[in-house]
Subunit: 360 residues, 2 copies
């Protein structure tokens, strides 16, 4: 997947818009370059995206047919969910087929490749439309070689205390702030939503394990061609029972000089489809930060230089700011919610901290 | 891949027998159930496997034709290398085609699937022979669910200070010792060589990253059906620049109650095809042990209960025993070289240590 022209999107998020598994839809609307014509979710039909994302006046409709009646007419159906295991709900097949037959391209980030489905592939061939599976791995299959960063490049990885808490959003906000400050900055997409937004990258959770670190190393090399400040989207968390190995592939493949830890105050346990009697608590921040530095340092030195809080569970703004101050005191690190309160201030402090690192 | 009848093997290890990339050949000869008729390596032709593995009287021949002239005639060509990236050297294609045309099955653990190669597949179809690609992942694609071990089961994972230092061998020696001591014990193969030896398992380094931990969890579930003491073959090392994520998938997927650390005294840096100017030093044992316990404990409590040394770089037996005593004092843990000096003593100490763990 490489850079591509703009599209008019209808986003399929049936039953999930605004919820956990609909994070792809929200991410693409918030950060993507493509105009979104409609979100399809019959359980919220008649509503508007602005209820969740203020300022985004996008209707939520019940069916694809309703979306197709809008102006401008959508040219692409984007599958806007990322369920555990990445499978396609059977009930969505009809809508996808309808879209293909109506001449729309289909963009998907599911583990189940739409383009490999004989029925979808035949329909797309007949309709002359394209199917893009963002999670399809690159043909390149190489293990890591221990590459060093080019001189003058600064690589920052977002890590987190859980999956789905905002590592991609923080990376995108920091890139925007860096550019606003006049820096040459690039974002390295490592998941399907980031790829949909930035038009390149690889879904690390889909890679063959042996090549995960080598592919991340290669993505960072490309990131260094795109900017001097290279902000790598993190995945999962190092204490996640299902995804920690993907996280470590990012840490050891990207060899970031600095990391930004993303955390969501108020979340009590890992968000994870586990067995009913199992619960995995969230980590304590300070020892968790030390562990990240220790783990990264097994391959290349790295420091957590800031904490980005996702304060979305704290409705009151003053309380959110108080929590930011509390975490700043607890960790001794710059802290803010860059999505809620803007990333300019946090970026300036991150930049200063990175430039002060002895290994930069 | 499941349990299968015995075969008569010719092992292709051209240019690599006895060297690093030929570890599959040595592992299969040492621990596999199948009689090995010949090793094919023209660079060592006329020699005998017994020079490397005392007591194994197996001729090394220059060509497949020579191997086919031996009694009993081989019925299977086993690809006996595991190069970085797992690719098939072009020069071996001719030999593989010859083998198929001579009616032999082909067993391979390479990342490049022999059975997907149109020329090999057509030849096998014409000859009525089978191609088995051990690294082909299972159809099952599930993320980890946080499964608990069945009551009474003890799960032990071998971990290491590097790749290719003997984690599989130690696991197999410990299983043999456990069985000799009257225990119900199973080995869980997580790499192609272990699978060739034990006839089941999955190559974790070939799995899609998102499903690596879930698949290891599932392999351990099967291991628990096969024995009360479940010894899981480890992969890579948590400080390996290319493979650490595979290692963490094993630690968090298997949730072992105990780990055995494998280390090779005398090795000065990671054995790794890196850039010429990069070198990655070996870890210090005691902090490395602590880090394993810390990392494992993020998901489930675990303790390193013993150190298994690979003393193959220490020729003198008394010196090897002195090194074992030194590491035992340094780490405060039971220590031995179970491949060189037998695993019975180390197993007894491991068993006692595991039974004493508060979480067992």
């Amino acid at each position: 997947v490489s850079d591509r022209p703009l599209r008019h999107l209808a986003i399929l998020a049936e039953g999930n818009f605004g919820f956990h598994y609909g994070k792809t839809a929200v991410g693409v609307i918030r950060y993507g370059p493509d105009p979104v014509v409609a979100v399809i979710d019959s359980t919220k039909a008649g509503g508007n995206v602005s209820a969740i994302l203020p300022g985004r006046d996008i209707p939520i409709v019940a069916t694809l047919a309703e979306a197709l009646a809008l102006e401008p007419r959508p040219d692409t159906l984007l599958i806007g969910i990322a369920p555990t295991g990445g499978r396609l709900p059977d009930s969505w097949r009809v809508t996808i087929l309808e879209a293909i037959r109506a001449g729309l391209d289909v963009h998907s980030g599911l583990h189940t490749f739409i383009g490999d489905d004989p029925e979808f592939a035949a329909a797309a061939a007949a309709a002359g439309t394209a199917i893009v599976d963002y999670r399809r791995p690159p043909d390149r299959m190489e293990t890591a070689v221990g590459r060093r960063h080019e001189p003058g490049k600064r690589v920052i990885l977002t890590v987190g205390t859980d999956c789905a808490i905002g590592k991609m959003s923080v990376a995108l906000e920091l890139r925007a702030a860096a550019r606003a400050a006049g820096r040459s900055a690039a974002f390295v997409p490592t998941g399907q939503t980031g790829m949909m937004i930035d038009g390149w990258g690889a879904a690390v959770d889909r890679l063959i394990s042996d090549f995960a670190q080598g592919t991340v190393e290669w993505l960072v090399e490309e990131g260094e061609r795109r900017g001097d400040w290279v902000i790598v989207e993190g995945q999962g968390s190092i204490d996640h029972p299902a995804y920690s190995s993907v996280t470590l592939a990012l840490i050891h493949g990207a060899t970031p000089q600095a990391m930004v830890l993303v955390h969501k105050p108020g979340q009590v346990a890992h968000d994870f489809d586990h067995l009913p009697d199992r619960s995995f608590p969230m980590a304590e921040l300070r020892p968790f930060i030390d562990l990240h530095e220790r783990l990264a340092g097994l391959v290349a030195p790295s420091k957590v230089v800031a904490v980005a809080l996702n304060t979305s569970l704290i409705a009151d703004e003053a309380e959110a700011r108080a929590e930011i101050a509390r975490v700043e005191a607890e960790t001794g690190l710059p802290c803010d919610d860059p999505v809620r309160f803007g990333a300019a201030g946090l970026w300036a402090r991150i930049e200063a901290a990175v430039e002060a690192l002895p290994w930069v």
